[in-house]
Amino acid sequence: MLFVAPALALIAAFLVFPALWTLYLGVLKYDLAGSNAAAPQFVGLGNYRDALTDPRFANSLLLTVAFVGLSAVLGQNVLGFLLAAVLRDAASWVRGVVNAVVLLAWILPGTVVVFLWQALLDRGGGTLNALLGTPGAAWTLDHPLATIVAFNIWRGTAFSMLLYSAALGAVPRSQLETARTYGAGPLRTLRDVVLPHIRGHVLTNTLLITLWTFNDFAPYMLTGGGPDHRSETLPVYVYRTSIEGGALGYGSAISLIMLIVNLAIALFYLRLLRRRSA
């Protein structure tokens, strides 16, 4: 059909094709410079074996799971939902102001955001240290994981908030009133009245923010993956091995492993959705 042709052509040329090529690089010893740049060696599954036996990779995978779980699945999801719920009944100026700052965090360019957070967390003259009266506190060194979790919640909550605002709009007010009349507490109302209406939204939202966070490179700009690999999530690990080490084949192999993890996550959510709606 004519309607899908342009989109499919672009996707095929600039997405599927490079992606397949990238996957092919994963079975090569392929570097940006050196003899492996001139004549890449075929190593079969060697890159995959190296990755799966590298303790740094295991560390990265665990960190990524923690990062995604804390900052996206819990952080953005819950905060986004709470904001959407609270703002529904708030005065319009409150809604406007909160919406504005939360959205700003989301739409500002990444490069700018990195400087904003460096200014916030700087050891010497950072805003946070000035505010808390803790000069010299090194947040990115003492609490690297907490830092990137807080950062990601700040950066991405807007999407969840917008999506849940739309979703809550679909919950009939009459049902909420009924629940209140029968004296149902907030938790029961949430479980019995609200959730059934927005289950699809919750899963869509969780799926998207999980995948985005999983592949997010921004932590590197804040902590450089350190100290001592304590904030080295998978995209950072890929960057540090494939660029700083120049090993593109190895980087591609890890990209495929990440893709499979992403796929597993997506299938898991979809199953969850099917079971619930069945």
């Binding site: 899908v4 499919l8 095929a12 940006l32 050196g34 001139a38 090194a138």
Partner: protein
């Protein structure tokens, strides 16, 4: 919907074709006749460096666009040749720049002239990105009169197997800088020259008595990247009597006594005697942070290259901004880096240093090798070297220019006269960059508190995995 399977199959077919064709395509190093297009009526050349007007390395970018290119085009015209030179400005993070340059070179494109670091020559040559200059432009590359002005060590830094791969830009050297005012306060001589590692630690212990002062900064860890190897590990290793790569035996240092000595020194410095701030080695901005502290008189001793003197703590506010030291000349002292013990350094030396530097090279795939060589020698003439420096002073690769300008700066003269003759360069071996990353990791772990033996073992394993056990020495 019939178009979808077709499109997919088509994409797959193209993918297979191109994958087969491109990934395995191997460039022959040096693409043919050095005299090709030598008589072309019109030639276009492109220079690329990691600089940009108004941003990073602006002085270099402005020199190229405002002085070098107009002067060269005019000179060529006088010879009856029409040459247009374009400048590709970048001014970005060095790793990112390297990535872009390497991608272009890999595709068989890339600028006609670009800078290659002395330590990258082996890797670039192995990839076919560069070739010996005499192969690219012919015999005149060896008979160029300018070579007479270049120091032997600096020549070696741009050569491999006795052939030139680039024309050198300049050279730097590492020393220990110290704050004379703090030294006097701590009861140390204002005119200081340690002769062993123990002397450095002893001075550090006295500085530790001053409040609010970090005694010593010797770079370590991954965030400092190449500054860890060049300013810290490698000069120390040279002081312990070893070079990281023995080109004759074709062996890297693994878990050797020299490596363990260096790691033990780090351990004493940061853990045992607590004379350095481990935090700075973990902080992504640690190096900048160390500059700030040194410029504010909060840091006693720092191992750095002449870059610190020229571009970080210089007295001119407009160049050095927040870290400028108006009283630099009276406050900042400099001393040679001592060997572990007198005479224990490489080649039995008492003092050691490391130097870096690179040079401009010509893309083997250039369409106009002769015109490119003209440009290369033109830009490394004494006139253009001085134009590039402007009012600043730097150790260049040209002895005649150095004699003229270094008299203006005693510290740089000291480095040129005392340090460059005893210095070492990074090895020109294609695994060096990866070994460097292992060194950064190892020093970082020692600073973080891991025992030296354990770290040295893990380092050895890493190097063996990289180059094979036959190419690693351990004892």
């Amino acid at each position: 919907m019939g178009s979808r399977p077709v499109a997919t199959v088509g994409a797959l077919a193209v993918a297979c074709l191109v994958l087969g064709g491109c990934v395995s395509a191997k460039h022959a190093a040096g693409a043919g006749d050095p005299q090709r297009n030598a008589d072309a009526k019109h030639a276009t050349l492109t220079i690329s460096t990691n600089a940009i007007s108004g941003g990073k390395n602006a002085q270099e970018a402005d020199w190229i666009t405002k002085e070098l290119i107009p002067a060269f085009e005019k000179a060529e015209k006088a010879k009856g040749r029409n040459v247009t030179v374009n400048y590709q400005a970048n001014g970005i993070d060095d790793a990112k720049y390297g990535e872009k340059l390497e991608l272009s070179l890999k595709a068989g494109g890339g600028p006609d002239l670009f800078v290659v670091g002395g330590d990258s020559i082996a890797t670039y040559a192995a990839a076919g990105y560069i070739a010996p200059l005499d192969k690219v432009v012919g015999g005149e590359a060896n008979s160029w009169t300018g070579w007479k002005q270049v120091d032997a060590a600096v020549k070696k830094n741009v050569s491999m197997n006795g052939r030139y791969y680039a024309v050198p830009n300049g050279v730097d050297g590492r020393v220990l800088y110290y704050n004379k005012k703090l030294f006097v306060k701590a009861g140390l001589p204002a005119d200081w020259q340690p002769t062993s590692w123990a002397d450095i630690l002893a001075a550090g212990r006295k500085l530790a008595t001053l409040s609010g002062v970090t005694p010593i900064q010797i770079n370590a860890g991954t965030p400092m990247a190449e500054a860890t190897t060049m300013q810290g590990f490698l000069p120390l290793l040279a002081g312990a009597g070893a070079e990281i790569y023995d080109a004759k035996a074709k062996k890297y240092q693994g878990d050797t006594k020299a490596v363990r000595d260096v790691l033990s020194f780090y351990r004493t410095l940061y853990r045992g005697a607590k004379l350095g701030d481990p935090r700075l080695q973990q902080d992504p901005n640690g190096r900048d942070e160390s500059f700030t502290e040194f410029s504010q008189g909060k840091l006693g001793i720092i191992g750095e290259s002449d870059y610190l003197w020229r571009s970080v703590v210089c007295p001119t506010k407009s160049v050095c901004n927040a870290t400028a030291m108006p009283d630099r000349n009276s406050t900042v002292g400099y001393a040679m880096i001592p060997a572990e013990r007198p005479g224990s350094g490489v080649g039995g030396q008492d003092f050691v240093s490391m130097s870096g530097g690179g040079g401009f090279t010509i893309n083997p795939h250039t369409k106009y090798p002769q015109q490119a060589w003209d440009l290369l020698t033109f830009m490394r003439s004494a006139t253009q070297i001085k134009a590039q420096l402007g009012s600043t002073v730097q150790i260049t690769a040209n002895k005649q220019v150095n004699d003229e300008i270094l008299a203006r700066d005693p510290a740089l003269k000291f480095i040129a006269d005392k340090v460059i003759p005893i210095t070492r360069f990074r090895p020109s071996e294609e695994h060096y960059t990866s070994v460097g990353a292992l060194i950064e990791e190892a020093t970082g772990q020692v600073v973080a508190g891991k025992p030296v033996d354990e770290v040295a073992k893990a380092y050895q394993q890493g190097v063996v995995k990289l180059v094979g056990a036959d190419h690693v020495s351990s004892n």
